[in-house]
């Protein structure tokens, strides 16, 4: 290796916007400090720091389980050193938008499982509701404590060509990833403490306390806050997010349990302890609805607890997140969330959706049929087995064929424009390259909502990819929310 070059100076952008650099290659204000610290870093510097960061995560067992592998191999989530940086004003707006969205989703869920006024008033048509997945009859007629369903929400955001943050997807069932936010920060502070602007980055350490406070706040009426016993229910060590379940239990000091550790007697839930049975009041479950209780859902499930749903509905135990939330993060319902916000809150959405047209809606269907050549066509649910059609990259014959399929089965499809979203510089082993990235902030809601500053920034596996999922080889970055001044 010769004289090390400055990798930052050799960076070249993609067609879409970049988080760190403006169009002319100037470093944006929020990244000014970082740019100054990274100036002069060559390949060897990045290698050394990357190796330190990877070793930190490997030794700490910060891993996820790869399912395809017979051996159940654990991998570290590829970690990338250059963080996403968000200014304070910019963040305040995102925060307000997230709180607003979660409030509307909770109102929507409470309505859907009781009076369904939104259907009577035409916000969601009966057809759309009928075609959506995730509606759970077992949740009907029951309102959980404080009227909260989506206690923990992970709302995926992207930043579009114009620099605007848009909601790509709502996750209000059992969103994961928050442990990586906390561990990524720890790794950054261990491996590259010198990159941090002293005292200017908002801490993420508060999450476990906020989570525990929320769990206690939704306890059954019959128990005091001091006596409340909360637990985390995990499917077990083979689950890909097991690290996170264990991490959160450790950070909050609560018991991590599996279905076989719990037993229900007389609508009350107990732990099987060495000294006898001990009462449980709040369950933060990381087990999907259909596996929770073999008496009401899948009878073959060994992950759940017989009688749990009955105990829940009798108010003797709180379940977090609530049962039935799948309807709120359904792909078709997503299209109508801006209307849902206006309807329940009487406010304009702060964070817009990505434009979406759904086959079940007559006007949308006409738009899809007419503009298919410019759109990305997606199956409305995973079980359809139909592939994705990218209009701008397809032949006339392929588009015509897709059109026929949509006409034959309109409710099976949604369509969106091809979305260019922002990139962040990422070290690829030899140089810095632009990688597309999304952001999953986490919102914790009890009587009020609290947003963890930042969230999980996920990056695609290479410069070409638009997919940021860890199962597709994507990685993650630390996310810095700057405090107060020092931003654009």
């Amino acid at each position: 290796m010769g004289e090390p070059g400055d990798l930052l100076a050799e960076y070249s952008q993609l067609a879409g916007p970049d988080e760190m650099f403006d169009r002319d290659g100037g470093i944006r204000t929020n990244y000014a400090h970082l740019g100054a610290r990274l100036k002069g870093w060559g390949e060897r510097d990045y290698h050394a720091r990357q190796a330190a960061a990877d070793l930190d995560q490997l030794n700490g067992g910060v891993t996820f389980t790869v399912y395809q592998d017979d051996a159940g191999t654990e991998r570290i989530f590829p970690f990338s050193l250059i963080p996403r940086v968000i200014g304070a004003t910019e963040w305040a707006r995102i925060e307000a938008g997230l709180v607003q969205r979660v409030a509307a989703l909770n109102r929507f869920l409470a309505d859907i499982y009781t009076q369904q006024r939104c259907v009577t008033d035409g916000v969601i048509s009966a057809d759309v509701l009928g075609g959506a997945e995730g509606f759970n009859l077992r949740a009907m007629g029951f309102v959980p404590p404080l009227g909260v369903y989506a206690h923990i929400a992970g709302i995926d955001l992207i930043r579009d060509q114009g620099g605007e943050y848009r909601v790509l997807e709502d996750n209000v069932r059992t969103p994961s990833g928050v442990s990586y936010v906390l561990e990524n920060r720890r790794t950054m502070l261990n491996a590259v403490p010198d990159l941090f602007p002293a005292g200017a980055v908002a801490s993420v350490d508060d999450y476990p306390d906020r989570l525990l406070d929320m769990l206690v706040s939704v306890r059954p009426d019959s128990v005091s806050a001091e006596e409340t016993r909360a637990v985390i229910l995990t499917p077990g060590q083979a689950n890909s997010a097991y690290f996170e379940h264990s991490f959160l239990a450790r950070q909050m000091g609560v018991e991590l349990v599996e279905g076989r550790d719990l037993v229900v007697h007389d609508q009350r839930v107990y732990l099987r302890a060495t000294t006898g049975l001990e009462r449980v009041h709040v369950i933060y479950r990381r087990v999907d609805d259909e596996y929770l209780d073999p008496l009401v859902f899948r009878p073959d499930s060994i992950l759940g607890v017989a009688g749990l749903v009955d105990a829940y509905r009798s108010g003797q135990v709180a379940i977090v997140n609530a049962i039935g939330n799948g309807i709120a993060d359904d792909k078709v319902i997503y299209r109508f969330i801006p209307d849902v916000i206006r309807y329940y809150l009487n406010e304009e959405p702060i964070l817009p959706n990505v434009d979406t047209w759904v086959g079940t809606h007559p006007e949308d269907l006409a738009h899809i049929i007419e503009h298919l050549g410019d759109l990305v066509l997606k199956p409305a649910n995973g079980s359809g087995g139909y592939g994705i059609v990218i209009g701008p990259q397809s032949t006339r014959a392929e588009i015509e064929e897709a059109r026929e399929r949509v006409r034959a089965h309109p409710s099976g499809f949604i369509a969106q424009p091809l979305q260019e979203f922002s990139t962040i510089p990422t070290f690829n082993g030899t140089r810095l390259e632009p990688r597309r990235a999304d952001l999953r902030p986490f919102v914790v809601t009890g009587a009020t909502s609290w947003v963890l500053p930042g969230g999980l920034t996920r990056v695609a596996a290479d410069s070409e990819s638009y997919i940021v999922n860890s199962s597709q080889g994507g990685g993650s970055k630390d996310t810095w929310v700057l405090r107060g001044r020092g931003e654009a």
Partner: protein
């Protein structure tokens, strides 16, 4: 404490102790195999004795039948196909540690995880001595960190119960594997060959230096047997292990309904009393091998009763 968690901690203690014992035995064997040994004794014999001592000789015979080059040393240390090998034991301990992360400190998990990361395919290529040394140091560091970074609560008592029951079992097996050597020595004069064997046995139990402190003069079979079985201050002796087990079991079951905790408590008290009131001479007279077999059976019964009565019992009454 959750029954499943208590049982996992107990097994974590067992696996860590087992790993340390196997590593130590292998290191002693390795030393014996490179140092002088009697001409009629080849290296394989040393290892075979070890395989026999940790109770996997039948499984080894089967594996060696299908894999001609498999030496007993490889089988014992590096073979992933041997569920009792050192590598497998570490892997299991680490699996439990991962499941127990919210009950052990980050430091303890990281230490066990480091051991696991050192137990991959490259372990064999770095050499047996280097690997066993890593394991011995790693287990010692883990236990030290456990003592200094984890709450002294019920969970810690179960871990120590697991540790001492495993150690009691291991020490009795180490003595038993060489009992035939101990017997004739009662009458024999100490030749150089015998001394060499005594040293190997003492080293197998990390007892060499303790022996020197305890006894002046030459190494004799009766003294070795006394130290390893009945000495109340030597931390690997049968008596020490039983006393420690009794103490930690009492602490672990402080909140357990009396009727469920009592059978094991009574048996341990009895064993402790017996070991405190017998002598090496008595044991030799009535049969060392028989004594050791009975000891192992009783230890195993204690294990089974703890599992059934404490870990797997469905509580009969409501709180």
């Amino acid at each position: 404490m959750l029954s499943r968690v208590a049982e996992n901690l107990y097994w974590l203690g067992r696996y860590l102790e087992r790993a340390e014992n196997v590593a130590r035995l292998a290191a002693v064997n390795y030393r014996a195999s490179v140092e002088e040994r009697s001409p009629d004794e080849d290296e394989a014999v040393l290892w075979d004795a070890l395989v026999q001592a940790i109770g996997s000789d039948a499984a080894y015979a089967e594996a060696a039948g299908s894999e001609r080059d498999l030496s007993s040393g490889e089988w014992l240390i590096f073979s992933a196909r041997n569920p009792g090998s050192l590598v497998s034991t570490i892997t299991r301990a680490r699996g439990l540690a991962r499941e127990l992360r919210e009950h052990i400190s980050r430091e303890v998990f990281e230490e066990i995880n480091l051991l696991y990361l050192a137990s991959d395919e490259s372990a064999a290529s770095r050499g047996l001595r280097s690997y066993t040394a890593t394991v011995q140091r790693g287990v010692a560091a883990t236990m030290g960190l456990y003592d200094n970074t984890v709450l002294f609560d019920e969970g810690g008592e179960w871990l120590r119960c697991g540790m001492f029951i495993e150690r009691a079992d291991m020490t009795s097996r180490i003595i038993d594997a060489k009992y035939y050597m101990l017997l004739p020595s009662l009458a024999d004069v100490d030749g150089p060959l015998d001394r060499y064997h005594w040293l190997a046995i003492l080293r197998s139990a990390s007892a060499h230096e303790a022996f020197r402190k305890r006894y002046r003069g030459s190494i004799r079979g009766t003294r070795v047997a006394e130290l390893l079985m009945l000495d109340s201050a030597f931390p690997r002796s049968l008596r020490f292990c039983v006393s420690a087990l009794e103490r930690h079991y009492k602490l672990a079951t402080a909140g357990t309904p009396r009727m469920r905790a009592l059978p094991v408590a009574r048996e341990l008290a009895l064993m402790d009393l017996e070991l405190g009131s017998t002598s090496t001479g008595d044991i030799m007279t009535s049969g060392l091998h028989e004594f050791l077999r009975e000891f192992q059976v009783r230890v195993n019964r204690v294990h089974t009763t703890i599992t059934d009565e404490i870990f797997h019992a469905v509580p009969a009454s409501m709180p």
